[in-house]
Amino acid sequence: MRIELEKRPNPSRLFSILSPFLALGLTVVAGGIMFALLGKSPGSALYSFFIEPLLDVWSLHEIAIKAAPLILIGVGLSVCYRSNNWNIGAEGQFIAGAIAGAIVPVVFHEWHSPLVLPLMLVFGMIGGALYAAIPAFLKAHMNTNEILTSLMLVYIAQLFLDWLVRGPWRSPDAYNFPVTRDFAPEAILPELVSSGRANLGFAFAIIAAIVLWIMMRYTLKGFEITVLGQSERAGRFAGFSSRRMIWFSMLLSGALAGLAGISEVSGTIGKLQPIISPGYGFTAIIVAFLGRLNPLSIVAAGLFLALTYVGGEAVQLTLSVSDKVTRVFQGLLLFFVLSCDTLILYKIRLVFSRLGRGNEGGAH
């Protein structure tokens, strides 16, 4: 049996809407099989993974908390990927933003003012953007592969954060635990609604998604991004500079990742510690693709991936499976998203005959 692809004359509208849902369905089925292999009842496992978290207010808040960084980073990455810039170091930019933003409440902890929080957010965005500026500069002016450099910078950022919280920034009153001092109340991101922990970070995420959606759809910049991403040559003829686009997309996605980082530490954790992210920067890549690189769909994708984090924690407790289940789910999802996207551009045909077409292998 062989699989043959036949290019569709036009991209299929039906499948461009359907394919993410198809991917979700396949992921759920594969997940069920995985639970069965682990010796758990697939039905109840999937129920506590995907349904239960939606049924109480506490976990809805948790979903919003985890969706915020995923959406913020994901919409930034979508601009990058659309313009053919492969920033995969958002995890590092997230950490850099968190560190830069934390300068205010950690180093200047005696300064109390309503300006603290806005300043932190600005610092966070600058920190993330500056960190993304390194691979941007290297790609734009040194022709260096941004995939590898941005990724190496993730490891460096993680080690730098580790050094900070164990060394110079360690809190004097944390009994030698590797944490900074707790942020003062004015350095904490306010809660969104009174019913739970979800904070303003979620609002930032929604605003960013809407702004970027408008930019992509209605502005010249959005057009420039799309043209340069599809063909650098065509973009050059139109007078667009791919070098400027590297800077624009990388700084934008870095700033949003940085904002996500400082929102996370000031809204959810309340201090710096060695680990501040369960891989948000990498999961956001899945979010961007599941959302088909469209900012509004990325909101939905971010909420869904947040559900996999919360659902993963839930099955850990109720069925005592390991926390890697979440990771497996997320990886599977990305696989299915990518395979289902084939249906948009191609018709897939299964060929059962053993004989290929006449001329195949003829030259041998």
């Binding site: 036949e6 290297l138 040194m142 022709n143 260096t144 592969n145 460096i156 050094w163 890549i285 990771r327």
Partner: protein, 306 residues
Amino acid sequence: MGMIEAILLTVITAATPLVLASVGELVTERTGVLNLGVEGMMVMGAAIAFAATQVTGSPYIGILAGIAGGALFSLLFGFLTLTLVANQVATGLALTILGLGVSGQIGEPYVGMSGARLEPITIPLLADIPFIGPLLFKQDIIFYISIALVIGVNWFLFKSRAGLKIRAIGDNHASAHALGIHVIRTRYLAVMFGGACAGLAGAQLSLVYTPQWVENMSAGRGWIALALVVFASWRPWRVLLGGYLFGAVSISQLHAQAFGIGIPSQFLSALPYAATIIVLILISHNRRMTLINTPASLGKPFVPDR
């Protein structure tokens, strides 16, 4: 054994997985396929090799399992990018994310167990040569395989007919297809070869380098291996050179820590990653050089017209 010998021995141990994973990826990339999933395949190899060793008691079965695991896992990537023409960059990332998750799942029961270490094989006579002997001829089998692979791949790519076909596909898949070369089939084989090598590299990590299973134990080595292919400008001998350079860098940080140099350990641990960036800059700065050597169809999907 003198101290210099001891240090060199650790350099060899640190370099071997890098050389293995890079040489596999080099072949894959020579056919025009960019598989960014090396990290995932490597960590899968590490977990499977360790688990198989624990179950069977034989590290050699562990090695075979690691190789097979890496190759089978890479098939997922092959199916998506070659048959379904999915984006290679995104699919490679998916392979890494999935590999980190699944390997954690496989290795879970073995956390904290110490494994059967792979014993060195002494090559008679040669091992008696002073200094070089114990270093090069009293090693585990994976080291010997790594050297043999570099020699073999170099011969294969530049001296054999199949190697010529591979390079033709990498440089222009459309012409190669027109000449009757099986582009997709060759790419499948190359992807699986890359997966097998990454799996073996992983087996080295969990059976030789640190004989135990730790989650995410590849720690970015798969990504460094990818950078090494660029560093080597797609030539096997330079992979060997680069692998040993990087092995030396990552070992130097351990020794520097042991000597109590007043630099925080985190900065030393960041050295291999920083070195990777610096090397990439030096290599890619010369735009003409990279253009000559990069397989022209690297990363581009191919759909045979029917």
